[in-house]
């Protein structure tokens, strides 16, 4: 067993247009590792949605991607407002996004459902006023 590889990112909200860059960087690195393209695709969609959520709903945070020989974990941690009702937030179409966010093309309420669909395991730890940590796992084989 080799050591897991860790990619760490600060997800910054100061420049909204840069949202999504961490998932692009991860995607490039995973291609260099020669991972199957369906694994890369699942991971980059799941991570992208999580990254955007941190920017839109939680003033940014950190993203860590841990690659082992069997699986890849994505840990997205923010210190935002937290999610009051996780089951509700997980429903397709549920969104608290403002009109302004809608005008940017987000807020369809599909992010969390997509993260669940494209990851193999997903866990949400959230506390109101403290923050949210989303952990996703994608198995390589």
């Amino acid at each position: 067993m080799s050591e897991p590889l860790v990619f760490h990112f600060e997800v910054d909200v100061s420049d909204f247009t840069s949202a999504g860059t961490a998932s692009v960087t991860v995607k490039k690195n995973l291609r260099q590792l020669g991972l199957p393209s369906d694994v890369i695709r699942k991971l980059s969609i799941a991570m992208y949605e999580g990254e955007i959520n941190m920017v839109i709903h939680a003033e940014g945070g950190t993203a860590d991607v841990i690659v082992t020989e069997e699986y890849i974990d994505i840990i997205l941690k923010d210190h935002g407002p937290g999610i009051p009702d996780v089951d509700l937030a997980m429903q397709e179409g549920y969104s608290t996004a403002t009109a302004q966010i809608h005008s940017l093309g987000f807020g369809a309420g599909m992010g969390l459902p997509n993260m669940k669909r494209y990851s193999d395991e997903m866990k949400i730890d959230t506390e109101l006023g403290v923050g949210t940590t989303v952990t996703m796992r994608i198995w390589i084989r």
């Binding site: 260099q32 020669g34 997509n114």
Partner: protein
């Protein structure tokens, strides 16, 4: 891997080893070695960015020469629609086509004609069940090579329609065979008049299993002055042109997409924008869009590095050339059920994993960790002084070469570590 023969090349005598191209190459194919730029042939996509950006004109695109057509007894010119936007005070395409005959071609077959047919059949293609969304245009050879090198998961999205240049070559060849049976196939030379180096490379290397029917590719810039010499307003010219507005407007970004006659399209030009769009498609973000037109050159084909005119001026001229024309002059065969075989290609070139570190996953992991370790010893300013485009790329080069440390001219002044 077969060596891909490239049009974009370097003149070491002119290259000063400045780092301009290094920072602009979208595939990080360039390194500075021993004082001048070196292009990694496996990675180059012939986008021409380095030619566009080089302040010393040290990069050039090698294309065919008009003289080399002497080997053919019957010569057919296939002018790209972008040629029509190159001339001042020119509102009649026939003067240009007549010019081509005057400089030595026996016949002209407009690529714009083929473009209109490709548009008509693309509309048919899009009506079939199970078409991926969005569909990506196959017309720009840089984009096809970019996808096959960097976006293998998008190969299914590519429209399997041959680009207008090939459709034109096929139709031109058939036409000559019928009208001039006295010439043997190998006596007929089909010559594309090209705005871009990527067409040159594509024709030389073929495309996947598809063998190009074009014999020679000559640069627009190479024949431009010869054409100017013979194109006189007082000339009596014949009517040769047989294309409408849509075929001509393929030369500019958005031309192909608007000809799809569907609102749900997107057209992006310039390699940086193209990369962003491809990322978005991979992330599933624009699946509501039906058709995506991508052009590596800013402005579309009129922005190719083998053209003469500023792309925006060229685009405006195209509008005046096509103003009095019908929407289209070439139509899909109504008796044909689907799309003629001759318009389709079977498969994309196979994925070439140029960026992969090692065929062995465990070894790749080890190398990646090593790249990160070395990168963290570098200042992170991506200055290019070491010859690599970024500190990350410098670390990667070292690891690929089996080195454990790297030299950095600025390591000391930055304390040898970033952040």
């Amino acid at each position: 891997m077969d060596q891909y023969e490239h049009s974009v090349q370097l003149d070491p005598k002119k290259c000063t080893g400045c780092t301009t191209c290094l920072h602009h190459c979208p595939t990080e194919a360039i390194r500075i070695r021993e004082g001048h730029a070196v292009i990694n042939q496996d990675r180059c996509i012939d986008c021409g960015e380095c030619i566009r950006k080089c302040p010393h004109n040290a990069k050039r695109a090698v294309a065919g020469k008009l003289e080399s057509l002497q080997r053919f007894r019957y010569k057919v010119a296939l002018p790209a629609p972008s040629l029509y936007g190159q001339f001042n005070n020119m509102d009649d395409v026939d003067y240009i086509l007549d010019g081509l005959i005057k400089i030595g071609f026996d016949e002209v077959f407009e690529v714009a004609k083929a473009a209109e047919l490709v548009s008509a059949y693309t509309r048919r293609y899009m009506q079939a069940e199970g078409i991926p969304k969005p569909l990506i245009s196959s017309a720009c050879p840089v984009i096809l090579r970019l996808i096959s090198l960097m976006y293998p998961s998008l190969e299914d999205h590519v429209l399997h329609m041959l680009p207008p240049i090939e459709v034109a070559a096929d139709l031109a060849r058939k036409k000559v065979k019928k009208e001039h049976p006295e010439f043997r196939d190998e006596e007929v030379g089909i010559c594309f008049i090209s705005p871009c180096p990527a067409k040159v490379s594509y024709v030389r290397n073929n495309f996947g299993s598809y063998k190009s029917k074009v014999d020679e590719v000559v640069a627009i810039s190479d024949i431009y002055f010869r054409l100017l010499d013979v194109m006189k307003p007082e000339n009596q010219v014949q009517t040769i042109s047989d294309t409408g507005m849509t075929g001509i407007e393929w030369a500019g970004s958005g031309g192909e997409a608007t000809a799809i006659l569907n609102e749900d399209y997107l057209a992006a030009d310039g390699i940086e924008n193209v990369n962003k769009v491809l990322e978005e498609i991979e992330n599933g973000n624009i699946s509501h869009v039906k058709f995506v037109e991508l052009n590596a050159c800013p402005g579309g084909c009129v922005g190719g590095v083998l053209t003469v005119q500023n792309p925006f001026i060229a685009k405006a001229r195209l509008r005046s050339v096509s103003r009095c024309l019908p929407m289209a002059a070439n139509f899909a065969d109504p008796d044909e059920e689907y799309i003629p075989e001759d318009f389709l290609f079977d498969e994309m070139p196979s994925y070439v994993p140029v960026s992969r570190l090692s065929p062995n996953f465990r070894e790749s992991m080890r190398m990646m960790a090593e790249i990160q370790r070395i990168r963290d010893t570098l200042p992170g300013i991506d200055c290019g002084a070491c010859g690599a485009p970024t500190c990350r790329a410098h670390a990667e080069d070292a690891v690929r070469a089996g080195l454990r440390t790297v030299t950095c001219p600025f390591a000391d002044s930055f304390g040898g570590s970033r952040k």
